[in-house]
């Protein structure tokens, strides 16, 4: 048996097909979900992919959080459904208050696309169990609004509870506070990050590394063993 992992397509989603491919390569079954549809088709987990969900002319993710599909995602995430937000998906998760803080424009004011070095800080979440804490990985990063910000209380709480899941190493590409690249909720079922693990799943393609595959094998093992 395998797990069914939903990938939401918002009208401006760009990496939805890539995410489906990564799920398939990990051995799970990708299920396409549509933003206008509240039905999650009984998937075992959901990925909110990268892109510019509704054009993001307003704050990134600000409109998507009100879409019909997000009503159900928010409700079920609170009940324990594993949800991963990648880039725009991370922005949507913060706008939906499933994760704390928010994203501002990169401090250098340019779009940036690079193969980014990260440290895995928390390998106990639903999406990171196949990594080891402290592991250094390279995952492609590409965004305009990637600067993670939160108030000091929230930052202290995230750090204190070990909820910073990924941190930028060597180079902070956007001015994120505490070099934060990704975070998890308290329960560890909701994870968001700016870099794109779905672009690091095949040798030769994209960055040419497969450092992103453990995201998808982590969730598969968790669901299959559950």
């Amino acid at each position: 048996m395998t797990a069914r992992i939903g990938v939401v397509t918002f009208p401006g989603s760009l990496d939805d097909r890539d995410t489906q491919r990564a799920i398939r390569l990990a051995g799970a079954e990708p299920v396409a979900l549509w933003h206008k549809d509240k039905d999650l088709k009984q998937v075992d987990a959901v990925v909110l992919p990268g892109g510019f969900s509704y054009g993001d002319y307003l704050r990134a993710g600000a409109i998507s959080r009100f879409s019909p599909v997000m009503e159900t995602v928010i409700e079920q995430a609170k009940a324990g459904l594993p949800v991963l937000g990648i880039c725009n998906g991370f922005q949507v998760l913060t706008e939906a208050h499933l994760l704390p803080g928010g994203m501002l424009g990169n401090d250098h004011l340019h779009f940036i696309c690079r193969d980014q070095k990260l440290r895995v800080e928390n390998a106990d979440t639903a999406w990171t169990a196949d990594y080891t804490a402290g592991q250094e990985i390279h995952i492609p990063l590409k965004n305009m609004d990637g600067r993670y910000v939160a108030d000091q209380y929230t930052l202290d709480k995230l750090e204190g509870e070990g909820r910073v899941a990924f941190r930028y190493l060597d180079f902070n590409p956007n001015g994120s506070l505490n070099d934060i690249a990704g975070i998890t909720n308290e329960a560890g079922n909701v994870v968001g990050l700016m870099p794109h693990p779905e672009h690091a799943v095949e040798p030769l393609i994209g960055s040419g590394r497969t450092d992103g595959l453990p995201f998808f094998t982590s969730i598969l093992k968790k669901l299959v063993n559950a």
Binding site: P11, G12, L14, D18, G55, H110, K142, L204, I205
Partner: protein, 752 residues
């Protein structure tokens, strides 16, 4: 309320003496008289609007047509060509049932006026051309040329252009995999912003721009029509910039990439359900172009009710609606019983779609407004039978003196220290420096199929996950060479792009071009254009790579000063399995470096002559197309059979530039030895064409040498991948760290 009666066809016939502003719309007197002759009466305002935009240089190719014919007349026999020149974009068979469409276009003038929107809408336009062929766009490339890197205006134009390309392309989800950035003072007031795109489809999905089948509906879908870009085609793209005239800002369109993304998805979904008979995108000349081209390419006529066009601004006149270049719009011809489903798909993607007319069994294009007929024309006279000019051309008087000013006679470095210093200057010069600051603003990962992206010799995209089938694209063009000799310069552009595709392991198949020149009204410029087209057509014939389409951009000129003639050539290639691709970066220490091809003393027009002496004169490097073909065959075979692990084409900056790039990308140095028969300077800086440097694993050396020997390609061992510096034995060593700083620092320092 205006009391002026609607200028209908009937009204025009009854009021022959009404003066129309044909000159303001960019028509010449004899062109206007020709319109009157065609119609047998004066045109209505709406008809005049259509003829003026469609007969503009930009849309009608009136100055270039007589020369461009050679691309068809000299087209080599090629089984690969499925759709040739004349459609929205050419289509090439790449095997396994796949077809690829690709094209390069210019958005030069708008990008100078408003860099961000000009460049952004350039991407939008070329992508719609690709969708209009039935293909899913899979990648974009952007060949760019700017004024001097340290000129203050370059800092205004370049960051805006780059942000616009990124802002639009990134939002569409198209990986940006190639292109070039070149600086030269000749582009100061006329930057060249060329944009290319590739799309993939199955053979059976090819769509054409034609309206057939009486009763079929004409559907306009996408953005509402606004006042932006009115007259853009006729006035903006077809006249020289002149300080004395008022600002042309309102003629530049504003892009909405999110809308374009929706347009891509809903168009592809409609294609997948076979709902579309014919399709055309709305770019230059907007509805005038789309209706007249669809109608003239089909079997019938067309009737359009302009009142049904959804407007952003309800005060627009019918003439303005016909001329508007509002972005993100397309026009489809759909059978009546499929209209419902087509509209449903548009609604799913929240795209506005409206039936604005239908195909008739006549042969006229008729357009109505408020119940009156305001256009009644033979659409062919609008779309295809525009004026054709045999512009006078003449080899400029200064050409001889320019060619006599030989770059080979420039003072050369006398000592090892001088040689080393010139290497440092070269790799740190704006044209040779790393463009990472620019390309990192483009997404090259999206879609998950990017195998190679800049700074590789060509971009490469996987198109089939099962078999690994892929396509490669490279764009090249050296305006300095073309200035010295436009015929040879155009051939060198083709040779370089062809070589770049082969260097990555792909087989070159077909060509698209973007021909950027000054004013065609200047006989010297026209001669450059004629020579470049002749050179390119001859070379395409010899290399067996047909020109599938392209674009001409004239009037890249401020006052008397024209840009260097700049033919930009894109070559598309195919590779059976992307796992066999060859990267630029050195892979392993100990591998042997071989120089393929012949190195001669060729410094005229070179990067060295520009960087060290600020000189342009002499004759460009010689072209040997048979040698290019042999080199390509060797590179492809060596890649397929695993005989080389990295390869880099030699072009601007010569061998030293190529070795430094391979070393920096691989993080591994090189020890070089000057081969017998060459001096160190010529070895490092010559720009002889038909050459590449490859890294051969020791286990493959014998086999590789045998292959080159048997095929008659000179292959000279010049060193080894080793250490953490680039060293020329007995001359100098430059540490990689120093080279990296020299190579990567200049562009951010100048432009960030």
């Amino acid at each position: 309320m205006s009391r002026t009666p609607l200028d209908t066809v009937e009204h025009a016939a009854a009021t022959p003496d009404v003066e129309l502003p044909w000159a303001e719309l960019g028509l010449k007197k004899d062109e206007y008289e020709r319109v009157v002759e065609i119609l047998g009466r004066r045109p209505t305002g709406a008809e005049l609007a259509m003829y003026s935009v469609m007969w503009s240089e930009h849309c009608s190719y009136k100055s270039s047509k007589v020369h461009l014919r050679q691309f068809g007349e000299k087209a080599p026999q090629s089984d690969a060509l499925l759709v040739g020149i004349g459609e929205n974009a050419g289509v090439v068979d790449v095997g396994q049932g796949y077809a690829v469409t690709f094209k390069v276009e210019s958005h030069n003038h708008p990008s100078y006026v408003e860099p961000y929107q000009g460049a952004a809408t350039g991407v939008g336009g070329i992508v719609r051309d690709i969708i209009a062929m039935g293909a899913r766009p899979v990648a974009v490339v952007d060949p760019l040329r700017f004024g001097a890197a340290d000129h203050p205006d370059t800092k205004r134009v370049l960051p805006g252009v780059v942000a616009g390309i990124g802002g639009y392309g990134n939002c569409l989800g198209l990986p940006n995999i190639g292109g070039e950035v070149v600086f030269d003072a000749c582009y100061q007031g006329n930057p060249l912003v060329n944009a290319g795109a590739i799309g993939v489809m199955r053979h059976e999905d090819i769509h054409l721009a034609k309206a057939s089948g009486a009763g079929n509906k004409v559907i306009l879908y996408g953005a509402r029509t606004g006042g932006d870009g009115i007259g853009g085609a006729s006035i903006l793209a077809s006249e020289t910039f002149d300080d004395a005239k008022p600002s042309k800002r309102p003629a530049v369109q504003v892009g909405d990439p999110f809308q374009e993304k929706l347009l891509i998805e809903c168009t592809l979904e409609a294609f997948a359900e076979k709902l579309v008979v014919g399709i055309q995108d709305l770019g230059a000349a907007g509805l005038s172009c789309a209706t007249s081209e669809l109608a003239s390419n089909g079997s019938g006529g067309m009737r359009v009710t302009l009142d049904d066009v959804p407007l952003r601004d309800s005060t627009l006149s019918p003439e303005e609606i016909l001329m508007s270049e509002s972005q993100e719009r397309m026009c489809a011809v759909v059978e009546p019983e499929k209209v419902g489903r087509f509209l449903e798909i548009c609604e799913k993607w929240d795209v506005i779609a409206t039936v604005i007319g239908e195909v008739t069994d006549g042969d006229r294009l008729e357009i109505y407004w408020h119940g009156g007929k305001i256009v009644d024309v033979d659409p062919r006279t609008v779309a295809h039978e525009g004026p054709v000019y045999e512009r006078p051309y003449a080899r400029p008087a200064w050409q001889d003196a320019l060619q006599a000013d030989d770059g080979n006679k420039l003072p050369r470095p006398a000592t090892s220290d001088e040689l080393k210093d010139q290497v440092r200057k070269l790799v740190g010069s704006p044209n040779q420096a790393s463009k990472k600051w620019i390309t990192s603003q483009y997404d090259h990962f999206v879609q998950g199929n990017t195998v190679l992206a800049q700074p590789e010799d060509s971009g490469m995209i996987r198109i089939d996950e099962e078999t690994g089938l892929g396509v490669a694209i490279a764009t090249d063009g050296n305006g300095r060479y073309a200035k010295l000799d436009p015929y040879t310069g155009a051939q060198l552009a083709l040779a370089e792009a062809y070589r770049n595709v082969a260097t990555t392991g792909a087989k070159p198949l077909a060509v698209s071009d973007c021909l950027n020149f000054g004013s065609p009204e200047d006989p010297a410029v026209m001669w450059q254009f004629a020579e470049a087209v002749r050179g390119l057509a001859d070379a395409c014939q010899q290399l067996g790579t047909p020109v599938t389409g392209g674009n001409v951009s004239l009037y890249n000129q401020t006052g008397e000063a024209a840009i260097h003639p700049t033919p930009v050539v894109a070559v598309l290639g195919v590779i059976d399995d992307v796992a066999r691709r060859t990267p630029v970066a050195f892979q392993e220490e100990g591998q042997l470096l071989y120089l393929l091809g012949d190195t001669r003393e060729e410094f005229s027009g070179s990067a060295w002559s520009q960087v060290i002496h600020d000189h342009l004169g002499g004759l460009p490097p010689a072209v040997d197309l048979e040698r290019e073909r042999l080199l390509a065959e060797i590179l492809i075979s060596a890649s397929r059979d695993g005989m080389i692990d990295s390869a880099h084409d030699l072009s601007d900056g010569g061998l030293v530039q190529a070795v430094v790039e391979s070393a920096l990308l691989g993080g591994k140095g090189a020890r070089l030895v000057v081969p017998d028969g060459l001096d160190a300077f010529t070895f490092l800086f010559s720009e002889s064409a038909g050459r590449a440097v490859v890294a051969v694993p020791r286990s493959e050396e014998l086999r590789f040498n045998d292959m080159c020997g048997a095929r008659g390609l000179p292959a000279t061992r010049i060193g080894v991948v080793d250490g953490d510096s680039v060293e020329l034995q007995g001359e100098f060593a430059l540490p990689l760290e120093e080279l990296r700083e020299l190579h990567e620092a200049p562009i951010p320092a100048l432009l960030a």
